[in-house]
């Protein structure tokens, strides 16, 4: 009974997820006439690459692709530096107002881009950054940075603290935590020891946010 339901559910979900992808992909291999006259609706026949070659040779697609790549690279770079430093500080260092900073980052993540786009546009105009890729370098971090900082706080908290302590205590004078942060590159799988701060307490509802780091992290690239 459960088995049968699982199979049915699996097929339904697979169709639900794959059909739209297959539809859009098959469209890309159809000719204009084939779409216009509704010939062979479900399968691209005749099969053509002309949309792909046309995109590459007849439009400025190579430029658009370059713009996307440059923007992605620059924004990723800015975001990684800012978010990892900030995330480390909130997760590991003790300073007054730490909890407040953590809440602030969550709030910033939830501020809708719709609220910011008008004033941000004005600020960018005043900076003379409109009509240039740098407008994107400056506006994307408004949502990538809070989000990635929030993820990295979780990540740093989950790392066993002993790794860092061991590193600091081997340094001549118990060097400042900054050296531990910058010089070590712990692999998660090599450190199975539980620590007081790692998240292993009972049922942990924040686990999803942590374990789908990769998937949620994709917002940083795409959205």
């Amino acid at each position: 009974m459960t088995r049968a339901l699982t199979w049915i559910g699996l097929v339904v979900f697979l169709l639900l997820i794959l059909v739209p992808f297959w539809w859009i992909a098959s469209m890309s291999f159809k000719t204009y006439e084939q779409i216009q006259f509704a010939v062979s609706i479900y399968v691209p026949k005749p099969f053509t690459w002309e949309n792909y070659t046309g995109l590459w040779t007849e439009t400025r697609f190579p430029l658009w692709l370059r713009n996307s790549l440059v923007t992605a690279l620059v924004v990723t770079l800015i975001t990684s530096v800012v978010a990892s430093l900030g995330g480390y500080a909130v997760a590991r260092l003790r300073f007054p107002g730490r909890e407040a900073v953590a809440s602030l980052i969550l709030i910033l993540y939830l501020i809708p881009p719709a609220l910011l786009f008008i004033p941000l546009y004005r600020v960018l105009t005043e900076l003379g950054a409109t009509n240039h890729l740098s407008a994107l370098f400056l506006s994307y971090p408004t949502f990538t940075v809070p989000f990635c900082t929030w993820l990295l706080i979780g990540f740093f908290k989950a790392l066993p603290e002993e790794l860092e302590e061991a590193r600091s205590s081997t340094a001549p004078d118990g060097s400042p935590p900054s050296s531990a942060c910058c010089s070590r590159s712990p692999r998660r799988d090599s450190s199975p020891r539980p620590s007081s701060r790692s998240r292993s307490r009972g049922t942990n509802s924040s686990m999803p946010w942590y374990s789908f780091r990769m998937r949620r992290g994709s917002r940083c690239r795409w959205d």
């Binding site: 800012v82 609220l115 004033p119």
Partner: protein, 301 residues
């Protein structure tokens, strides 16, 4: 390993210094690109700023105007319908997806990755895909051609041309993009429910339906609340899907806060009023954020 508490006052002070240094780039970015524009938004909402003219302070006139504006009331209703319908669908489908995946033994990780495809694909591409799926012309619209071929329709339906059809289309596109995220979150919650609970319930003679109601759902309560709140905030502010699929049309049938704000600000060039529209979302946002931080930050400690 030295316990932290044995470090002296000097080390503590040094740590604060390091923390400030590490937080500096974040601070600069947040103040310059989020906090300052946000304050500008608040100021703009109190002016009658039109593009090309200097702004004049008008007090709360923008707010008063919107409060009695029929189009804006329609926008509020649309946003509520859009958000509630799509979040409710996401919760139900997400639960179903998690239950299915939880019963799959082999290839679960592969399927989980595959099911996440909509979530990692660019929103604009998904919006375009669904615009075509709902197209009235059978050569482009999958739904119409499929229903015609099944014989359920005698002639194609122009979904996007009717208010209800267009709303259904944007709700479905938004739901389709985000339900895998719900499914995977719920699955992670299900995996962390202790197996002994199910075994004990089986011994006591509870069937699978009762086990779901009395063990699975209570165990997932927390994940469901946090996921729903987060998704509620992200959905009520959704711009991409509606803008690409309908531009708020037909008429104002699918106009929501973000698209209406954009249309007023960049279409009619009334920046003051445009900003005010998005500021109306702030109270909802504040309630959502307070609830989320109560749940999420409590875990973090």
């Amino acid at each position: 390993v030295r316990p932290r508490s044995r470090r002296g006052i000097g080390a503590r002070g040094r740590e604060t210094g390091t923390a400030l240094l590490f937080l500096l780039p974040l601070f600069v970015l947040v103040v310059g690109l989020i906090f300052y524009p946000f304050c500008r938004a608040l100021w703009l909402s109190l002016t009658d700023k039109l593009v090309g003219y200097p702004e004049r302070f008008v007090g709360l006139r923008n707010y008063a105007y919107l409060a009695q504006d029929d189009a804006f009331q329609q926008v509020v209703r649309n946003s509520v319908v859009f958000t509630v319908a799509s979040v409710a669908l996401k919760v139900v489908t997400g639960l179903a997806m998690a239950l299915v995946l939880n019963n799959v033994v082999r290839g679960r990780n592969f399927l989980r990755g595959l099911f996440l495809l909509p979530w990692i694909t660019s929103t604009v591409i998904i919006a375009l895909t669904w615009r075509w799926m709902f197209d009235a012309f059978p050569g482009r619209g999958f739904i119409n051609s499929f229903l015609l071929d099944l014989g359920l329709l005698s002639q194609p339906i122009a979904f996007m041309a009717t208010p209800a059809g267009a709303m259904a289309a944007v709700v479905i596109a938004n739901w389709w993009r985000a339900f895998p995220f719900f499914g995977v979150s719920f699955l992670a919650g299900m995996v962390s429910i202790p197996r002994e609970l199910y075994e004990a319930a089986s011994v006591d003679g509870a069937g699978s339906v009762r086990r779901f109601w009395h063990i699975t759902l209570p165990g997932l309560k927390h994940v469901i609340i946090v996921t729903t709140l987060l998704s509620f905030i992200l959905t009520i502010n959704d711009f991409n899907i509606i803008y690409v699929m309908t531009r708020g049309g037909p008429g104002t049938a699918t106009q929501v806060f973000a698209t209406y704000s954009y249309q007023v600000a960049f279409g009619q060039l009334r920046w003051g009023r445009g900003v005010t529209i998005s500021i109306f979302v702030v109270p909802i946002l504040v309630i959502g954020i307070v609830l989320i931080s109560r749940y999420l930050l409590r875990d973090r400690r």
